[in-house]
Assembly symmetry: C2
Homo-oligomer: 327 residues x 2
């Protein structure tokens, strides 16, 4: 036992996931809690600080020395100041400093970045991206995050605070409204928000007999209940996953064509519905690429599951702290 | 006078452009000839060899030592064998070796690549891309070529023979047929082929009074005659450039969002219609990016014009030949 450890946090649209991670990428402790962002930024930041403090205590108890913490946050992030610039799915955090309160509570350096970028770093370090030079990452959660791993490293673009935001690529011009303010983004097809909105629209239209209607009787459905409905064979519910696959296939086809690459890795909670959308995804992908033979395209499922982004955020922290990291 | 020189060739869908270039990027001689690809691959390759031979003789006459030649060809290229894998707009060349006959004729090494990649290398070396770290290039010609310049260098992706093929990103799912075999590609909006097909459809519908109809009386119109028609104010002709701007704006918005970058450079013959499409392009770009403030997006016109790709192909040749190149 003993040695160095870092905390990695994934601050998504619905949940806060946090892990205590050792220099080899091993998760020493994992925590997941509802973020309750509707209670406002101060409450969410309080939750964040409390979760980090708990992991810091765990590190001490386990005999590890906490070196740094990394925060992966859904949105456009100003890493220099550790604050949120623009978050479609956590709008309450816009303009708020998130690194400073964590730094004050833990007494170690805190680095901030995008949650899907953390996913990419995590999967590339210790997951499905190991050994793949160039790939597109997508996280299917409350919203749709994305990252580009190019030349074995996270691609940061011009350093504008965003990169790999594939969830906000337009796949259907003039389509449904997105949380980001635009229309027809990938996120309006390939996220929990998209599933819930789609289910609501189907029920409101009332044209089809669908088990989705029952989901609204108790409370608002979520990705899981819509998934279960589809798994039992409900055609309307299945249709929502079909169009998720279609939109992902189209976006990946465009990215493969533009980047001249052929690998993608999908994670996030909604990727658990893999069997329902991977067929339409692969079909659409193969129908929309003229440059790459379909058989050469590789779409993989996250290997680290819900710890991918926390592990990646921890790696950001190790690198930030100048620690040697074992591959 | 004197010193080293390389030949650079741009083999596009309609024209062959070739230049004799010195190590500083200066064009010593420029040639442009119709490719007449419908007469078949052997005829086109014969034209290519003849043009290169003429420039080789010019080099000797001017007292330059020819070191190498570079060929930029519209399509997916196997650089290792110097042959064409798949060219939507020069299908007659598919499977043909193009480097070998030039090499035999000139007696110097010949390097092959994509024509739009050559455009990017040219503009980055001696044109509008000088000093810009990350940018998207698009060439609007018979088809729509593209390249990505990342970290100041041409991005080659996984080395699959294509990269930056933005002309074959889908901007309108289920849209018009593209030369590549798919539907709704950017090329079906932002190329000479798109203008001609669009004009034909408008005239065939016969719903609107349009000067475009007159263009078909003599022979098939081209980008220039449609441009002139639009410049005189014909609304149907203007509409074709509006939708060109729309499609380019959408594709660039998606690329800026995905790559986290903010610069693009447009070239190719059809970019001469700049004033007709740049307005709709900028409007669409600003309406479809939630991550980047519209004012930060920069779309520039090629500085080298029709010599951009030949100059870039010549630079490929200099680098291939291991020659020192002055920036």
């Amino acid at each position: 036992m003993g040695g160095d450890a870092c905390i990695g946090v994934d601050l998504g649209g619905s949940y806060l996931k946090a892990a205590l991670v050792d220099p080899s990428g091993k998760v020493l402790e994992f925590r997941k809690t509802a973020l309750q962002i509707r209670r406002g930024a101060p409450f969410a930041i309080q939750t964040l600080v409390a979760e980090c403090r708990t992991l810091s205590e765990s590190a001490a108890r386990l005999g590890f020395r906490l070196r740094a913490a990394g925060l992966g946050i859904a949105g456009k992030i100003d890493s220099a100041s550790g604050s949120v610039i623009f978050s479609p799915n956590l709008p309450q955090l816009d303009g708020h400093a998130v690194a400073a309160p964590v730094e004050a509570a833990l007494g170690v350096p805190v680095v901030t970045g995008n949650d899907a970028d953390a996913f990419g770093i995590g999967e590339g370090w210790a997951g499905a991206g190991k050994g793949i030079e160039n790939w597109v990452g997508a996280t299917l959660g409350t919203g749709t995050g994305g990252c580009l791993m190019l030349g074995g490293r996270l691609w940061r673009g011009d350093g504008l605070g965003f990169s790999g935001e594939i969830g906000h690529m337009i796949v259907q011009p003039g389509g449904s409204s997105c949380a980001c303010g635009m229309r027809g983004c990938l996120e309006t097809f390939a996220s929990e928000s998209a599933l819930v909105r789609g289910a609501r629209e189907i029920v409101a239209e009332g044209k089809t007999q669908t088990a989705l209607a029952g989901l609204f009787e108790a409370k608002t459905p979520n990705a899981r209940s819509i998934f279960e409905c589809a798994s039992k064979g409900d055609p309307a519910a299945r249709g929502l996953f079909d169009r998720m696959g279609w939109a992902l296939g189209l976006a990946l086809a465009n990215l493969f064509t533009a980047l001249g690459i052929r690998h993608a890795i999908l994670g996030g909670g909604v990727s658990g519905a893999w069997d329902l959308f991977i067929g339409p995804l692969r079909e659409t992908l193969s129908e929309n690429m003229s440059m790459l033979p379909a058989a050469q395209a590789v779409v993989l499922k996250s290997a680290l599951g819900e710890s991918a982004a926390p592990v990646g955020a921890a790696r950001m922290a190790f690198l930030w702290a100048g620690e040697a990291v074992r591959r």
